[in-house]
Symmetry: C2
Subunit: 189 residues, 2 copies
């Protein structure tokens, strides 16, 4: 085992993929984003770091709402497409069946297994990116993923992106139960 230095770069990480939705100039737009994660539990806050060059940012600031839509494996081609083409050049609003929640201006994608409707509560500026902080207003999923009225996250058929260059990867087999396998661990000290 010999450690090598890779420099100040983008680390290799397996990240979930979303189609970030917002209405820009009255039209729904979607951008493929992997730099998002939870920031806070109660109220649930989610942060999305987006390049300032993205067209979608305009709509997030305009309406102060956005959506995070988690695509299924069979949506990988259109997901990649939404990341390759800017909403300033192409109209991506026709690629999906859309629906809206109570916030009215956060377009969501019916085909996605999970939809997170967010209200923008803050924005933090960096040089090249802005971190949008959204309060989760409602989460939607599909009836078919529920078991005894609870969501079975294992069945969502979402996929991941291996940062920084891909590929997209499926989610694999169960490895271990969380909050459980560590209980019987015997510490070395």
């Amino acid at each position: 085992m010999k450690k090598v230095k890779l420099g100040k770069s983008i680390p290799p990480l397996p990240l979930p993929v979303c189609l970030l939705g917002a209405e820009v100039n009255g039209k729904p737009n979607f951008n493929t984003i992997v730099w998002f994660n939870m920031l806070h539990d109660n109220p649930p806050l989610i942060g999305v770091a987006m390049s300032k060059r993205h067209y979608t940012n305009i709509g997030i600031k305009e309406n102060r709402t956005f959506s995070i839509n988690i695509p299924t494996s069979d949506m990988v081609i259109v997901t990649d497409y939404c990341g390759l083409r800017s909403g300033s050049k192409v109209d991506k609003s026709k690629e999906f069946e859309l629906f809206y929640g109570e916030l009215k201006t956060a377009p969501m994608i019916k085909e996605c297994s999970v939809n997170i409707e967010c209200k923008l509560i803050n924005k933090i500026d960096f040089k090249n990116t802005e971190l949008f902080i959204g309060e989760i207003f409602e989460i939607y999923s599909d009836e078919k993923y529920l078991i005894d009225e609870k969501l079975d996250a294992s069945e969502l058929d979402s996929f991941i992106f291996l940062m920084p260059n891909g590929p997209y990867k499926k989610i694999g087999a169960n490895l271990a139960e969380a909050y459980k396998v560590g209980i019987s661990y015997k510490p070395k000290n």
Copy 2:
């Protein structure tokens, strides 16, 4: 397809898992964290949202350094253990072989496939969490993961956590090439 509302809750997402390292009162400590992701590209900034109750936070603020260590699948039991037990109660510094980089105070785990050495540049306060913003100072990996001097992220054998309750999952088969499969997509409009 019938959408159901899941309320204002923690969304189901497949997230990478890290052992967050910091020196607390002069002793290395590690905590299992999944709320972390990139915030900025150049310089590379990474954000980690941590419950204020965590013992590790004290060390991050004390030294203004921390590390993000990505465990391999065979480390899943000790990874779960590090999330179950607080450094205020148990000494986790003996569970791993450690090394340090130029920042001197960010303990890193040799057994992990990727180590990200970070310098704290900012901290944003929320009610229950604090978002630590670190500039990536150096990334380390192991010689064995390099192909032609470049890291092959597919070989890292990292795993993911299915938020909110687990299980831990392996990373599965390739699904599609990124920045590529979308090129040939035929838009519907």
